[in-house]
Symmetry: C2
């Protein structure tokens, strides 16, 4: 081949490469429209707001090439069937609290919060760098979904009680509206756990069909008006020390995404996660003041109740671990990380928070 011919051929080669480059751009930024269904009514602007924020960020980052339309609970899928809808690809993704699906397998509980699990920061550190995400996604794979961090409520409240609860004996026979796996710990303590949707709690408490009910924290609780019929407001909600919300994504849809869109989704989840925590930290204080002004009586759970609950939770976790290898594996991963992390957290952080809590006057 002559040099001139070689150049020609090379020239063609370059042109060919350029012709390939345009489709490559189109492939890396394809126009994609997804649907995300959530477990939340629109009125919960903290939880549903976090899902909307995640979708908005994905649109912004991709110049609206990747659009996610958000649907509230019941619009296309019932609030507690988000997992099923994502698994079957009815929707590409969902925003939910994985512990809602503990009936399928209690291992789901670790995707949100386990009784006496760590606070928000340690739970999130476990998910992010402590093996949580890998452990959970390995488990979620059998449901054909993967997960991303997408929100946190912080430590929740222990709920609303018609009468004061001072001792473990006061829990005997107490009809307590409490969600998910935590109800099984309550059962060990003598309570009768009840499953009720948010809107049914007020009339049940008013009539005395139930004696107590937990929901989230001041801002979300205040809207239900429970303080009017059950004025004793207990803390902390030891079954929700730092509840994570995750985005569930259908695994086939996830794998079909360009790598750049996978990264955009993950980063949008981190922003939404921080937005939601900041939102709770911004709106809960005022809501708590309103509740107190409305006659709410604030109490800590007594030391005997906390200790008995801690013991009951450990027992339950060990019982489930004995028969469920998935649960055992994730429980050991979380507990080991959390115990280790608290050995440092209790030094500077807890001491500083105790001091600052005493010295902050609003």
């Amino acid at each position: 081949m002559k040099r001139r011919d070689f150049i020609k051929v090379t020239g063609l080669g370059v042109a060919g490469a350029a012709a390939v480059a345009s489709p490559a751009i189109a492939q890396s930024m394809p126009e994609i429209k997804w649907r995300m269904t959530t477990s939340w009514p629109k009125s919960l602007d903290t939880l549903h707001g976090g899902a909307e924020m995640m979708a908005k960020m994905v649109g912004e980052a991709t110049d609206n090439k990747f659009q996610i339309q958000t649907f509230a609970a019941g619009e296309i899928v019932p609030g507690l069937q988000v997992l099923d809808a994502v698994q079957s690809a009815t929707v590409e993704m969902g925003h939910t609290a994985p512990y809602y699906y503990f009936g399928k397998d209690p291992t789901f509980t670790f995707g949100s919060s386990v009784p006496f699990g760590p606070n928000m920061r340690i739970n999130q550190a476990w998910y992010t760098l402590g093996g949580g995400r890998e452990n959970l996604n390995e488990f979620f794979r059998s449901y054909n979904v993967t997960s991303l961090l997408a929100g946190n409520t912080g430590c929740q409240m222990g709920g609303w009680f018609r009468k004061e609860i001072n001792s473990v004996e006061d829990l005997q026979g107490l009809k307590f509206r409490i969600g998910g796996f935590a109800g099984r710990v309550m059962q060990k303590l003598g309570c009768v756990p009840q499953q009720l949707a948010g809107g049914d709690i007020y009339p049940a408490l008013e009539k005395g069909t139930i004696d107590a009910a937990e929901w989230v924290g001041p801002y979300d609780d205040e809207r239900l008006g429970l303080y009017k019929v059950a004025p004793h407001y207990y803390y902390p909600g030891w079954w929700e020390g730092g509840t994570m919300l995750l985005a569930f994504i259908n695994l086939d849809k996830w794998n079909a995404l360009p790598k750049s869109y996978q990264s955009v989704l993950e980063q949008a989840g981190h922003l939404a996660n921080n937005w939601m925590m900041a939102k709770y930290d911004s709106v809960n204080p005022m809501a708590l003041r309103k509740l107190l002004a409305g006659g709410t009586k604030l109490h800590p759970f007594s030391a005997p109740i906390m200790e008995a609950s801690f013991k009951a939770a450990r027992e339950l976790h060990n019982e489930v671990s004995a028969t469920n290898a998935n649960f055992k594996k994730v429980y050991e991963s979380l507990t080991s990380f959390s115990n280790n992390s608290y050995s440092w957290f209790q030094v500077a952080e807890v001491g500083y928070d105790n001091f600052m809590a005493r010295h902050s006057q609003s």
Copy 2:
């Protein structure tokens, strides 16, 4: 015009539209290369690692169309001149602790942490939704920079002391290596604050040129080996309750970015922020154990020292507020948000953390 001609013309029109579409894509995803200089040596894989993570996420999200090259302190700009380099557009952006620039204006302090400022979560909530970002960026505008959230260390330690410090009297004349604005509070308490670079601390403590030194927390401190020459390790570092790291971006460069790239940068900062906090929460526990095994003696600052420090910090903040309108404005925004937020945080969170700290055995 014949129908056949019309089709031809339409054909051309479509081809023209396609030709326009390509530049539109090119404009929304232009190839951009930025440089980010940091205040950290590469060996600080927590702080510098956070900057690198932010750059990596921007590349991933944009299919490497937007590339940010990260430089450690001293590679192209000295570690404490990040602001100046970004202001003058020597580099497009930087990763730093804004309080390093308190000599220009103490208002910079609020970009990281102010003595007896809030913990990580509340500081971050203030920046994100409590007016912090708006207040700070309005102030930063006069330096031709804007900021994004890009990391947090959590509550730091109070530092290494050659002798035990029990009373406020023990602080009199103490030569204490302490950075930035906190040194002025220490001065009020009778200390003699010293400015020393990280590498100079060990020999100064060994010779007794200084009596004490603060750095960050267990993981970063352990590398300096200070426990060998000043074994008394105090907590908490009340001048660093939840220190934020920010990305500074030259305002002209920021304004020239496509909106999508601005959004990508912000989201990458949130992921890096969470990665850094998770990294500290993962590695500090083991480092603390190593320090204790090496002979470190852990002490809380005594109540009288904490109270006197709190009083001195308030005095200083009020003095500076009286003559600096920027400082006053941002201080009032932060204090109002923080006091309000702690009124809720102290209920569920602090109680839960106290319980969990007691019940976590590693």
